[in-house]
């Protein structure tokens, strides 16, 4: 007995935990519960880290999340872990339940353990529902509008439920505060307590044995089963980490209650509920929104009381396999149907506001300069900001700032302006060279990276903007004439469809307009409209 153990009993406790006796048949199938607990802890940890840089009010929430994604070092990874961890937790909890269900491990005396498990599943879903709103982007806002409307449709309790969620009049500050409070203050301790009770019950009754186990000597949890749990946790974490690094979690634009073009969708694991709702209309809607999901939860809770027979081998539990297969098929069918019916229009160009968006501040001319810079392959001889040294000088770090006129002369006859230069002359029109010079004059080591990150659709649109000479009538980002209306803030004034139709026939929508019609290909139209909508207010 060590000094510490004598005073705290910690070593004895750990030993008791590790040397718990488990049935001889225990194996890989029992690892899911451990993964779920581990993922819950990862969510708590990454959630706390996010909270350190997050302001839980509408507007500020969005800006602070953008700050986490674009400025805080490692912020992208932490948010990725939290986002994908949530999806993974749902998957693992469902796998855990499926395993217990298929093996009949919920049977007497383990009914209470099962019921707690069902409640934990509901809590996991509650995290998903409340956490979905917290980025406060358009997707989050509209998804939550639908969710709170469903709460309103509950018979009798509807109005109270909706008031409780703060969604009585509209989704706004009160809803946000309620969802945030649930997500970070109420759900975590409730989940922690239930997990502790769940594990206590597992220990009290022991891991459920399979038929035949009573004849075999019991095993210890450590080391073999402890190794299996660790290996499974390690594999799950490796997948989660790779997803957090490699798969971008997009952030859409700020929530916009006036947007009429969004098709609200919940997160993937709620799509089946979303689809179920579509089968019931009018007064029957409550069947899809409340009664069917309620019955499903009730059925889950009653499983151990309906199936009360002797424990049999898993291979003989055909009914359980049938029920699980039916549930899987139903879930898959509903989810696929929901995905298939998600409209693709208006989403052809997706802008990730979680990436640096400095390019939105550029004038169309400068942005077109980015396009010429890329098309002329300038980067093959010139470094821009960070990167290994090249033949030509680093353009973001030219010691003496030249004028635009000097640069255009240099583009046309490089050696005449810089004796001995081996740069080939650039074959572009004067207007195009102007754009290129305008872009290069904006370059500094600090913004070079962000500028070169300008997405292709915006650059293509800016090139089109230049070639159609839109700036002769319109002002964008402070550059251009004021004959037509300024283009900044277009997203607030018009819908995308309106703008697209206006291009094709301006006079039909704005009588008396002197704007000529423009025939763009559908790709060009998508680029152009999406680009114009990124112009800041």
């Amino acid at each position: 007995m060590s000094w510490l153990d004598h005073r705290t009993g910690i070593e004895t406790a750990i030993r008791n935990f590790l040397y718990e006796e488990i049935p001889a048949s225990s194996g890989w199938r029992q690892v899911f519960g451990s993964i779920a607990v581990f993922l819950f802890l990862v969510q708590a940890f990454t959630g706390a880290l996010l909270a350190f840089n997050y302001a839980p009010t509408p507007g500020d929430a969005y800006n602070s999340l953008r700050y986490i994604l674009t400025e805080v070092t490692g912020g992208h990874l932490i948010r990725g872990l939290h986002h994908w961890g949530a999806s993974m937790l749902i998957v693992v909890v469902v796998l855990h339940m499926t395993q217990v269900f298929l093996y009949g491990a919920y049977k007497k005396p383990r009914e209470a353990t099962w019921i707690l498990g069902v409640v934990l599943l509901l809590l996991t879903m509650a995290y998903g529902l409340t956490g979905y709103l917290l980025p406060w982007d358009n997707r989050a806002y509209w998804g939550t509008v639908v969710a709170t409307q469903i709460a309103t449709s509950v018979p009798l309790a509807g109005p109270y439920l909706s008031r409780l969620l703060g969604g009585e009049n509209a989704v706004g500050v009160v809803t946000f505060a309620r969802f945030y409070g649930l997500h970070v203050l109420l759900l975590p301790p409730a989940t922690g307590l239930l997990i502790a009770t769940h594990i206590y019950l597992v220990r009290k009754h022991g891991v459920a044995p399979a038929p035949g186990d009573e004849l075999l000597p019991k095993k210890k949890f450590y080391p073999q089963q402890a190794f299996r749990d660790t290996a499974a946790i390690f594999a799950a974490f490796a997948i989660l980490f790779v997803m957090a690094v490699a798969v971008r979690v997009p952030l859409e634009r700020l929530a916009d209650p006036t947007d009429t073009t969004v098709a609200p969708r919940p997160d993937w694991y709620f799509l089946f509920l979303f689809q179920t709702l579509k089968f019931f209309n009018g007064p029957l809607e409550v069947v899809g929104s409340v009664i069917l999901p309620g019955l499903a939860v009730l059925a889950l809770l009653l499983v151990p009381f309906v199936d009360r027979g002797q424990v049999v081998r898993v291979t003989r539990r055909t009914a359980a396999f049938g029920v699980a297969a039916l549930a899987l098929l139903g879930w898959l069918g509903l989810t696929v149907a929901a995905v298939a019916t998600t409209p693709k229009t208006d989403n052809t160009v997706e802008i990730d506001f979680g990436a640096p968006t400095d390019w939105m501040q550029l004038s169309p001319q400068e942005l077109a300069g980015v396009g010429y810079f890329r098309k002329e392959n300038c980067a093959s001889c010139h470094a821009v900001g960070a990167g290994k040294p090249r033949v030509g000088p680093d353009l973001s770090n030219v010691p003496i700032k030249k004028t635009a006129a000097w640069m255009i002369e240099h583009f046309k006859r490089p050696a005449a302006m810089v004796p001995g230069s081996s740069m080939p002359a650039i074959q572009l029109s004067n207007a195009q060279l102007n754009a290129l010079a305008a872009f290069l004059l904006k370059l500094t080591p600090r913004n070079a990276e962000a500028l070169s990150n300008a997405p292709d659709f915006a650059v293509e649109a800016a090139l089109l903007y230049q070639s159609k000479n839109c700036g002769a009538c319109h002002m964008a980002n402070g550059v251009g004439m004021k004959i037509g209306p300024p283009l900044n803030g277009l997203a607030r004034r018009r819908t995308k469809t309106w703008v697209a139709q206006h291009f094709a026939n301006p006079q039909a929508l704005s009588p008396g307009s002197i704007m000529p019609p423009y025939r763009f290909s559908s790709r060009e139209m998508d680029w152009m409209v999406a680009y114009l909508f990124t112009l800041p207010d």
Binding site: A55, G74, Q224, F234, F237
Partner: protein, 171 residues
């Protein structure tokens, strides 16, 4: 048969050791992969969003030599995800015909606001009685270094202030 039992026991011991090594190895990898990004996230500075800019603090054409003036001006400051426009002060002194210096408004000891005492012709800090000379040098008190200075530029009689630089040198 003790002869056959012993190798079995040994095999059991090495098998346990093997499992233990794997368990420890995997948990250390997981803990590292979580704590290292967390440390980076919390401890490294965020990317710079705005280059420091020059702000106009006031008119220095009428400034009397060796008579410090407190100038109040608005400055944009990056605060997390916000850019705040806030009031800032500087103590501006014309030390010679050509040289104007602007001191940051905080004592270099613990950041209290000091002020100019006309009768003593010294800067006094009310907190721990640090005293600075008109050129910012420490005269007495606990201040560890001279007053910090803004980068300054005078254009057409207007004083432009750049970033505040921590002063070098000892008390």
């Amino acid at each position: 048969m003790p002869a056959t039992e012993q190798p079995e026991e040994q095999a059991e011991v090495s098998r346990r050791g093997f499992y233990a090594a794997l368990i420890y190895g995997m948990w250390s990898a997981i803990v590292t992969a979580l704590s290292l990004p967390a440390a980076i996230y919390l401890l490294l500075p965020p990317k710079l969003r705005k280059a420091p800019e020059w702000v106009e603090a006031g008119d220095v054409s009428q400034l009397e030599p060796r008579a410090p003036v407190e100038m109040v001006f608005r400055q944009n400051r990056v605060d997390g995800w916000k850019i705040l426009s806030q009031k800032t002060t500087a103590w501006v002194v014309k030390l010679s015909d050509t040289g104007v210096v602007a001191f940051g408004p905080q004592c270099t000891h613990l950041g209290c606001a000091y002020h100019w005492d006309d009768s003593r012709a010294e800067f006094l800090c009310p907190c721990h009685t640090s005293i600075f000379a008109i050129d910012g040098a420490v005269v007495s008190g606990p201040a560890p270094r001279p007053l910090d200075r803004y980068d300054v530029r005078v254009e057409n009689g207007k004083l432009l202030l750049g970033p505040l630089r921590e002063s070098k040198g000892k008390a």
